[in-house]
């Protein structure tokens, strides 16, 4: 494959960023916006071409004996450390990166287009588009990374562009602190990622994904020519262990910690709800569809390595399961519609994580992996749809809270229908896309262990409940007084992406996803286990929706009663189980007041005090001996004479004795 298209995929958004960033202030809003849309549109077309070439061309470098291969389009040395340990900037094509290319460019294009309407007339419009381009560049670079360090580089870049976009309304203190929080929390997670990379790369001597995962791939299939037994041996790190776990486990868990930060897994999730301070299209792009699934992508990328360590996979599963449940519960009590969606995102990403955690090659040929990626794909579509829909609502009523909405189905039909489709998809109602992917995840869980399956089914039920609670509270319930300025549907640049994404959400479930994306590249034929998994989960979802309908369709006192009845639990969930307060306590009370301030005090008063003290001692000493230099010649003569006579006396004594 010619490298020109991949290079363009990476360069066009970067160029867009530079052009809009440097020349933006000189451009009109319209020019800047359309430049951004065209740029990302081109990238989208190129990404589609690439993905189609990869999946359908059947060229031997992409597919061999029915097994899809990893293909490195180009790989440019960027920074060499020692021996072969080199950071390269390259372009890796394999099923998941091709999938991600499609997802990112599609959503990004939709968001670019949508923002034309949503951000119209905002101050800093050009800046907004520049940051969007930067984000697209970083995210694309992340998914096509050929080595783990390239991933880390772009990982940091997406973090930065997320920081910039969350803090887009930089004069709003809440936005500033939210962006800061997002950056620092993910940075903390990246610390783990970095240490994990250091351990992994030191012992394996490589950053390359093909080297890291290829040899393991060879266990399952014999196609990969990168088998080096040394790599396999070094992967186990010669049995070295630390605190009871092998170093490989530590490395993998630490790398996963990076993923936990980006994908907002418990306990590093606190930044994501606050990140909703950014413009809504940004939330759709970054905090729902693309960046937050980077953690999932990371685990998927290193999946063969994770397979070598049960413990690491178990850790992922447990974290994912807890997070999924926690986020779903919290989502049931939030008032801000974007926060509901944010918690729903956390919960859905946790689904993907659990799915990866329970995936095993021996269970349906790694069904969980495929399911996870499938869900990533469908979730990106319907969650972006939901966010964009929420954006349209916010645009219409100028408030984030559902208390300001209600009965909107009459005023905003397009938004209503598309939002409903999104809700149905996420709730897992056939034939919408979410049903298929969630079904695969649940089957994978049940196959691994019944407990996981049951747990995740319950979470799926909760999902259906809170999504429809949201839906009813927005579109039904009781109509507040909108005044003479009735809300209305958004202009076409905003509606078009909604309709498009809704269509995708309707049909995406029928894509034979297993044919394209599996953990070892061999096709997997999806079959739905109707009796064991699908029917029960549909029943659960329908029951949950029915409950939501019962409680929220019309204004009634039931929700308040429920809230009162559950009391402390409801309050705790409403306050997100006090995670922010705990973090506040740790960062402010402990780190700031008990570490930083004492250190600064110590520095000024002890260390610097010692230095000043030395100077003080020297000064005291000189003041003490200064009278010796009295300026009185006669006393000098006495001293001199004393010395001279002493010398004479000593001489005399020596001579006489």
């Amino acid at each position: 494959m010619e490298p020109i298209i991949p290079i363009l995929i990476l360069c066009l958004p970067l160029l867009g960023f530079l052009v809009l960033g440097l020349l933006g202030p000189k451009m009109s809003h319209k020019a800047a916006g359309w430049y951004g849309v065209l740029s990302i549109g081109t990238v989208m077309v190129l990404a589609y071409i690439t993905a189609i070439t990869y999946f359908f061309s059947g060229a031997p470098e992409f597919i061999l004996d029915g097994t899809r291969l990893q293909y490195v389009v180009f790989n440019q040395d960027w920074l060499n450390f020692y021996k072969d340990l080199t950071i390269r900037i390259g372009f890796l094509l394999d099923p998941i990166s091709a999938l991600m290319l499609v997802v990112i460019t599609t959503i990004s294009f939709c968001v670019h287009l949508y923002s034309l309407g949503y951000m119209e007339g905002e101050k800093g419009f050009q800046r907004y588009y520049a940051f969007l381009q930067l984000f697209s560049f970083s995210m694309l670079g992340l998914v096509v990374a050929t080595n783990i360090f390239q991933m880390y580089i772009f990982w940091e870049l997406v973090g930065a562009s997320s920081y910039l976009l969350i803090g887009f309304y930089y004069q709003r203190p809440s936005a500033v602190s939210a962006s800061k929080k997002a950056f620092i929390v993910t940075r903390f997670a990246d610390l783990g990622f970095l240490i994990g990379i250091l351990i992994l790369s030191y012992y394996t001597g490589t950053f390359n994904f093909t080297d890291l995962t290829g040899s393991v791939l060879a266990n399952g299939s014999s196609v990969n020519n990168l088998i080096t037994p040394g790599v396999v041996a070094s992967l186990k790190f010669g049995g070295a262990s630390f605190m009871g776990c092998s170093l490989l486990t530590w490395a993998l868990v630490l790398i996963f910690m990076g993923g936990m930060g980006k994908s907002a897994m418990l306990p590093l999730h606190i930044w994501l709800p606050d990140a909703m301070e950014g413009p809504t299209p940004v939330s759709a792009l970054i905090h729902a569809a693309t960046m937050v699934v980077a953690g999932v992508y990371l685990v998927a990328r290193l999946f063969p390595l994770y397979l070598m360590e049960e413990a690491a996979l178990l850790f992922i599963t447990v974290v994912g399961a807890i997070t999924a449940f926690y986020a779903a519960v919290v989502a049931c009590t939030q008032v801000d519609i974007k926060r509901v969606l944010a918690f729903s995102t956390i919960s859905q990403i946790a689904f993907m994580m659990v799915s990866l955690g329970v995936a095993r090659p021996e269970i349906h040929e790694g069904l969980g992996y495929m399911a996870s990626m499938f869900h990533l794909f469908t979730h990106a579509m319907f969650k972006a749809l939901l966010f964009l829909g929420a954006g349209a609502l916010i645009h219409a009523v100028h408030s984030n809270d559902y208390t300001a909405m209600g009965g909107l189905r009459k005023y905003m039909p397009i938004t209503h229908i598309t939002f409903l489709i999104g809700c149905l998809a996420i709730a897992g109602i056939p034939p919408f896309s979410g049903f298929f992917s969630k079904d695969e995840i649940l089957s994978a869980c049940y196959e691994n262990n019944f407990i996981w399956g049951a747990w995740m089914s319950m979470v799926a039920g909760l999902t259906a409940f809170y999504m429809f609670r949201l839906y009813y509270l927005i579109f039904w319930w009781d109509e507040p007084d909108y005044g003479h300025h009735k809300p209305h549907d958004a202009p076409w640049p905003m509606s078009l992406p909604l309709i498009f994404l809704a269509l995708v959400s309707c049909v995406a479930g029928f894509i034979p996803f297993g044919e394209f994306v599996t953990w070892n590249g061999e096709p997997y034929h999806i079959h739905i286990n109707w009796v064991g998994v699908a029917i029960p989960s549909i029943v659960i979802a329908v029951l949950a929706i029915a409950l939501a309908t019962f409680m929220y369709r019309k204004k009634n006192p039931l929700p308040d009663k429920v809230a009162k009845a559950t009391g402390a639990l409801w309050t705790a969930a409403h306050h997100r189980f006090y995670w922010d307060e705990i973090y506040m306590f740790i960062t402010h009370k402990i780190i700031f007041n008990l570490i930083c301030k004492p250190i600064a005090w110590f520095d000024r008063h002890i260390i610097d005090g010692t230095m000043d003290g030395l100077a003080w001692c020297a000064q005291r000493l000189s003041i003490t001996i200064r009278p010796l230099q009295s300026g009185n010649v006669q006393s000098y003569v006495y001293v001199y004479l004393f010395g001279a006579l002493l010398l004479g006396g000593v001489t005399a004594a020596v001579v006489l004795l």
Binding site: Y638, L641, L645, G648, G649, T651, A652, V655
Partner: protein, 166 residues
């Protein structure tokens, strides 16, 4: 000669003591003058006539006059300098006696030549002195001579600078 020596030695001892013990500063200067004359006589006895001449001209003639002038400028005539405290005097005597003791002991015990008698000396004329002063060879003193000249110049400038009215 012996008589001459005795007179000179006694003059030196007596006038030295008087110089430092008298309470009238003008007298002190006068006794100094006598001491300097005595020293000049010693130079003559040593056959260094030029040196003796210089001693009289510069010291007796120049320096003591300077002293007298400055004394007259800075003190009212006839006034005594303040009485010295006993402590000060005793410390001074102690220091002087100690110095005398140590030096005298060193002189007597460490030097064999102190009982040497005066040897004969070739004539040393003014011309010889002048040539020595301006020669650069062995026994020539051009460099110190020049150095002294510069020093004197500096002193003149310094004196002018210090004494000049601002």
């Amino acid at each position: 000669m012996e008589i001459m020596y005795t007179i000179v030695a006694l003059a030196i001892i007596i006038f030295s003591i008087l110089t430092v013990t008298t309470r009238k500063i003008l007298r002190s200067a006068t006794y100094l003058l006598f001491t300097l004359f005595a020293a000049a006589i010693i130079y003559f006895m040593m056959d260094y006539e030029f040196l003796g001449g210089v001693q009289i001209a510069v010291y007796a003639g120049g320096i003591v006059v300077l002293f007298v002038f400055s004394i007259l400028l800075t003190t009212s005539p006839g006034s005594n300098s303040e009485k010295l405290t006993n402590r000060r005097v005793w410390w001074g005597i102690l220091a002087a006696v100690c110095t005398a003791g140590v030096t005298g002991w060193a002189l007597l015990s460490r030097c064999a030549e102190i009982f040497a008698t005066k040897p004969a000396m070739a004539d040393y004329t003014m011309q010889d002195l002048g040539e020595d002063m301006l020669s650069t060879g062995h026994g020539g003193y051009l460099l110190p001579f020049e150095a002294i000249s510069v020093l004197l110049l500096a002193c003149i400038i310094g004196a002018v600078a210090v004494a000049r009215k601002r």
